[in-house]
């Protein structure tokens, strides 16, 4: 199957996927890297993993991949550092010499070491600096505390002294004095620790101190006004300055341990006022000294980062491409002689020449003595599906691919989707006012396409942007259908001349159209505006849209069946033509094709016949007289014939195909059992080539095939009815859309207008705008989109589309960027 296209139709790029071939490249070891890199630039070959049984680290180039990973890590480190320092890596790449992989590795290593060292130094300095800042704070706060405490203490002492002076009479024993002095000496021995503790921990800190020393401490805390950088962690946090007084060595040890446990930094503190002042000045001096050093260091670091930033993108790209090259090389299998690598992969047939050129170039550039060998392999494996889409068609192809990727070279519904999808959407979304709004929104995306595609967008915006051409088509078609329905935000306009009808008398306008008389020619395009607002508007539009939906549905389903014919012809499957396509065509058209015909006849003749009645009684009593429902002469006999045809086509679909398949299989099998004697080398070779791809002739299980065919037939027969009914959603959604816009227009805008109050009017307009945008433009678009999607996926594509292929993912550097982020 497949290298040569079926001669039935002219080549269409999108209709059939590109012809693919399995190619084998035998690449000499020395030029392998360059070859793969050129092929990556070309981006038209999908390599097969020939080492899938090996784990990643057992492969040939695992070491290089590890090196790439290491380099990528360094680059991430640089990026992080740059972000911290507030630079962004500049997108412009400075034009400069192409740096080799090994040189780059060395360079990155050097830069990293340099940066790490700078950071370490900077951190050390910063830490010292922060410590000094904390120390200064402690000195200030504790100093304040000590002076205030001393002041109160001296006041107390003076009081005491004055008391003592009063008491000190002759009777005072000498011993007492001794006691007081010992008291004093004890007081002096009272030790203290000063430091800083994080504020959130201060309560727990106090509690634990209290518990650990059984209350034999005095703790004084003062909150520091502004957050301080912690020297150890380098984070800003709120802290308290504390002073703890204790007595005894054991208590001191405990307190020290607790301080440590709470991450409280301790600082020495002198009691002497003079010393304190001295220390403060000293600390301040050192702070300013350190500050200049740190600034100088930072400047140096910034310079380094800036130089890195200039080339960052380039390096990043280089590392990424290298990594992908080695990943690809890992997929190639090593030849027995270990002198060349064997690659297998899919490539489009048209790319053969380009690939060969790339191989030659690579062999030449790498001064290799032997060039790479390019040969096409024959295989029965199904090739990947590759459509050459452009920015306009890709979104439509995505819609089809979301259902299932086309089987290799089967008819691609994407071609028709480009027109039918927006059209079915527009049938449900018919309002040229809304269409224009949608068009303006999507034109914004299209005009700014270049700019927007290069930047990251939000999730939903991204999706809208991706589908901008789909939306553009949808809006254009909905302007068209809006003109047909004659709706502009539910207001009719007399765009194509005056209405054909005029009132017979003054009171007829609102009531019915019965009071109208035709005064001019028929309104030339679309629905006559006179229908709007009349009581018979709904019955009229419903009948119109319902019939239109059925016509569109039958047309699209017929197209689907015809495509199945093209597939059958293309894949040389005459069984499918005779026992699938033809009975299906007959069945669908003898029932619903006939209905469509009746609809058109009724429109043309203006007959009053009841189509429901005709269709239902065509089944129930085909022999009855039609009476007033007669639309054309010979209708009864036609109906009988059509019914008979439909009934015949069901067993036609069901029975012959499985039996014929069975016979085919038996014939082939018979042939095979005698064949091996005559088999030539060529077939042996091809068998040897294909043995990994499984046998082509699988077991033929008749019952399975029969059940499969049964299901298919039932599905088609029931589907013909239910799918036709399903197309009525076109009418239903279109009705919902127009009714909603009528509600918003009349119940909000006109109601607000009626109050003759400017504020109410403004509120009304605002509500109207929000309702229109939110409900009609966004939600209705979404729902109409989904229904159009369903009609394509289910009603249209189930007639012919297999969708069990797999996509072509070429190895290409251009695709690398999207992969990573």
């Amino acid at each position: 199957m497949g290298d040569r296209g079926g001669g039935c139709c002219p080549p269409m790029d999108l209709f059939r996927s590109e012809a693919m071939q399995l190619v084998q490249l035998i690449i000499p070891m020395e030029s392998a890297h360059l070859t793969v890199s050129y092929l990556g630039d070309l981006g038209l070959i999908q390599f097969k993993d020939l080492n899938s049984d090996k784990s990643p680290f057992q492969r040939t180039y695992a070491a290089q991949i590890k090196r790439c990973g290491e380099m990528a890590r360094k680059l991430r480190f640089f990026k992080e550092q740059m972000l911290k320092a507030g630079f962004s890596p500049s997108a412009k790449s400075l034009g400069e010499t192409n740096i080799g992989f090994d040189d780059l590795e060395v360079k990155l290593g050097e830069l990293e070491a340099e940066l790490v060292e700078m950071n370490a130094n900077g951190d050390k300095l910063q830490r010292g600096y922060n410590e000094l800042l904390e120390y200064k704070l402690v000195l200030q706060k504790a100093g304040e505390f000590f002076t205030s405490a001393q002041r109160s203490a001296t006041a107390q002492q003076r009081e005491m002294e004055s008391q003592q002076m009063g008491d000190q009479t002759l009777e005072t024993p000498l011993l007492h004095e001794q006691e007081t002095t010992t008291d004093l000496s004890k007081q002096v021995k009272l030790g203290f620790i000063t430091g800083l503790v994080p504020r959130e921990k201060s309560m727990a800190f106090e509690r634990i101190l209290f518990r650990a020393t059984r209350g034999n401490v005095f703790l004084k805390q003062v909150p520091a006004e502004e957050p301080i950088t912690d020297p150890v962690s380098g984070e800003k946090m709120e802290k308290n300055v504390f002073v703890v007084f204790y007595s005894g060595e054991r208590a001191k040890n405990k307190i020290l341990k607790i301080c440590e446990a709470f991450g409280a930094n301790r600082y020495p503190f002198a009691e002497d006022l003079g010393k304190q002042a001295l220390m403060i000045t000293e600390v301040s001096g050192r702070i300013s000294e350190l500050k200049t050093t740190i600034d100088a260091g930072l400047l140096q670091r910034d310079n380094l980062l800036r130089t890195i930033g200039d080339q960052f993108e380039q390096w990043n790209l280089k590392v990424k491409t290298e990594k992908s090259i080695y990943h690809t090389l890992n997929m190639l299998s090593l030849d027995v002689t270990k002198k060349c690598l064997v690659a297998e992969g899919w490539s489009p047939v048209f790319a053969t020449k380009q690939i060969q050129e790339a191989l030659q170039r690579a062999a030449f550039d790498s001064n290799s003595q032997v060039g790479a060998i390019f040969q096409v392999l024959h295989t029965r494996e199904s090739p990947p599906t590759y459509f050459r889409t452009n920015k306009f068609t890709s979104a439509f192809q995505e819609i089809v691919d979301a259902y299932g990727v086309a089987k290799y070279q089967e008819a691609n519904p994407g071609v028709y989707t480009i027109v039918t999808f927006p059209f079915l959407f527009a049938v449900m979304f018919g309002d040229w006012g809304h269409g224009i709004c949608l068009l303006l929104a999507t034109l914004y995306f299209i005009v700014r396409e270049k700019k927007l595609s290069s930047q990251k967008l939000g999730d939903i915006t991204e999706m809208t942007f991706g589908g901008r051409y789909v939306i553009m088509m949808m809006s254009l078609f909905s302007i068209y259908t809006g003109l047909v329905y004659n709706e502009f935000f539910s207001v009719p306009f007399e765009l194509f001349g005056r209405s054909a009808y005029a009132c017979r008398d003054l009171s007829c306008r609102d009531a019915t159209t019965v009071g109208l008389i035709k005064v001019r020619d028929t309104y030339p395009f679309g629905v006559d505006p006179a229908w709007h607002g009349s009581r018979s508007e709904l019955p009229f539009l419903n009948s119109l849209k319902m019939k239109m939906s059925i016509l569109l549905g039958v047309a699209q389903m017929n197209l689907g069946i015809i495509l199945s014919y093209f597939n059958a012809i293309f894949f040389r499957n005459s069984l499918n033509v005779w026992f699938q396509f033809i009975p299906q065509m007959i069945f669908l058209n003898s029932l619903f094709g006939y209905l469509s015909f009746l609809i058109i006849v009724k429109w043309c003749t203006g007959s009053q016949a009841d189509l429901y009645h005709i269709l239902i009684y065509m089944f129930l009593s085909p022999t009855d007289e039609l009476g007033e429902n007669q639309l054309f002469p010979g209708q009864k006999i036609t109906q009988q014939v059509l019914l008979l045809l439909a009934l015949v086509s069901v067993p036609w679909m069901l029975l012959p195909k499985p039996f014929l398949l069975k016979r085919q299989h038996e014939n082939r099998h018979q042939g095979q059992s005698y064949a091996p004697l005559e088999s030539t080398d060529e077939t042996l070779l091809s068998v040897a080539n294909n043995d990994s791809h499984g046998h082509d002739h699988e077991e033929f299980e008749f019952s399975e095939v029969f059940v499969h065919q049964l299901i298919h037939t039932i599905e088609f027969v029931l589907g013909a009815v239910s799918n036709t009914a399903s197309y009525l959603r076109l009418w239903a959604l279109s009705l919902a859309h127009s009714e909603l816009s009528v509600v918003f227009y009349e119940k909000v805008l006109l109601l607000a207008w009626g109050y003759n109050n400017i504020i109410i009017l403004i509120v009304g307009i605002i509500v109207f705008i929000f309702a229109t945008v939110g409900v009609l433009l966004i939600m209705e678009t979404l729902s109409a989109f989904l229904h159009a999607l369903r009609l394509h996926w289910v009603e249209f594509q189930n007639k012919f589309y297999e969708g069990d292929g797999y996509k072509f993912y070429p190895f290409s550097f251009a695709l690398l960027d999207d992969e990573d982020d």
Binding site: S55, P56, F57, Q58, A62, I65, K66, G69, E70, R73, R76, F77, K201, A204, I208, R211, A212, K254, K257, I258, E260, A261, F262
Partner: protein
């Protein structure tokens, strides 16, 4: 409300159950372990792990790796997941999740206390603590000299406080005391957890009681084996057994008087679920017992995922991840020390 969890469970627990089941899907499979066991260097392990959920945690590690780094990063991932779940959880799931960490808390307390007893540096000890069992004032543990102080100073603020009520003595801490303390605490913790799960009722109670009973029985066996030949009296030994589980109460009576491993075996073989574990071991051997128990535990934990609408999956997931980290640690150690022949000794495949 037994049997009606399905009606209301998803209101609060549905999201997290989905999350935890998603996490479970990320556990390493037998194929992963097979590949990991073939690694030649720690870099190979990193390379392989980078394709798993551990990737983001390991990718920024500079190349000469150490086993500790791998274990640390893998644990970090577990901790991150745990914290995320805890943040999202409402009562009573949040309490349930907290209960899971108490075991680590007890281990950490014991680690620090033992460490300070042997004059180790507190910071060094803190680094060794399991991050799931950290609490604010954990470093202060070093201050305590005896159990009473330990309780009064630090643990009174932690959730472990109620468990301590049973083991407050004024005795100075020594290795033996600490070990007894650990077991008493763990025992009290298991019983409390068990009661809590019973209170929750429904499928949670059903599944968790099975898992916790297994845990309690395993502890009983381990305590018995470890206390053979020590001066621990029979009564003391019996006090360390939990008041639930398959072995309670008759098995405990028998275990309490065991004098050697074969007697333990004789006792355990009376219980069908444990028969299979002991039948794998040859007589007089207790080396492989741990692995056998771990394998049984993993099997039971995996079964917890078969049922929906209960909290057991959270417990099971945390335990499975911990087992996975133990596996990774073992593999990394074997690779780092070139002992690849012993790789399979202690690795318990999860799937």
């Amino acid at each position: 409300m037994y049997g009606f969890e399905a009606m209301t469970f998803n209101i609060h627990g549905g999201y997290l159950e989905a999350i935890v089941r998603g996490h479970r899907a990320g556990l390493l499979t037998a194929a992963d372990y097979n590949n990991l066991c073939q690694c030649e260097t720690l870099d190979d392990i990193k390379m392989h792990l980078s394709a798993t959920e551990y990737g983001p945690y390991l990718q920024n590690e500079p190349s000469p790796l150490h086993t500790t780094t791998i274990v640390e990063k893998c644990t970090l991932k577990l901790v991150d997941e745990y914290k995320h779940m805890l943040c999202q959880a409402t009562e009573p799931l949040s309490t349930f999740l907290e209960y899971i960490t108490y075991g680590h808390m007890i281990d950490n307390v014991v680690l620090i206390v033992t460490g300070t007893l042997h004059e180790r540096d507190v910071q060094e000890l803190l680094e060794k603590c399991h991050p799931l069992g950290m609490f604010d004032s954990i470093a202060t543990l070093a201050v305590a000299q005896n159990m009473r102080e330990l309780y009064r100073l630090v643990l009174v603020d932690t959730p472990l406080a109620p468990y301590f009520s049973e083991c407050i003595t004024s005795e100075d801490l020594d290795d033996m005391n600490i070990e007894i303390m650990r077991n008493t605490l763990y025992n009290a913790y298991l019983e409390d957890f068990y009661k809590f799960c019973q209170k929750l009722g429904g499928a949670t109670a059903e599944i968790m009681s099975d898992l916790l009973a297994f845990e309690a029985d395993r502890r009983a066996v381990n305590i018995t084996i470890n206390s053979i030949g020590t001066e621990l009296t029979r009564d003391d030994r019996r006090k360390l057994y939990s008041n639930f589980g398959l072995l309670y109460p008759y098995g405990h009576e028998e275990l309490a008087v065991c004098e050697d491993i074969d007697q333990v075996r004789a006792v355990m073989e009376k219980y069908p679920p444990y028969q299979s574990i002991f039948s794998k071991l040859s007589y007089g051997e207790s080396q492989m017992l741990d692995k056998a128990f771990y394998e049984e535990e993993v099997k039971r934990l995996c079964l917890a995922f078969e049922q929906q609408f209960h909290y057991g999956v959270f417990f099971a997931y945390m335990r499975l991840r911990e087992q996975e980290i133990r596996n990774l640690m073992w593999i990394s150690e074997c690779v780092a020390q070139n002992q690849k022949s012993r790789v399979h000794d202690s690795v318990v495949f999860i799937f």
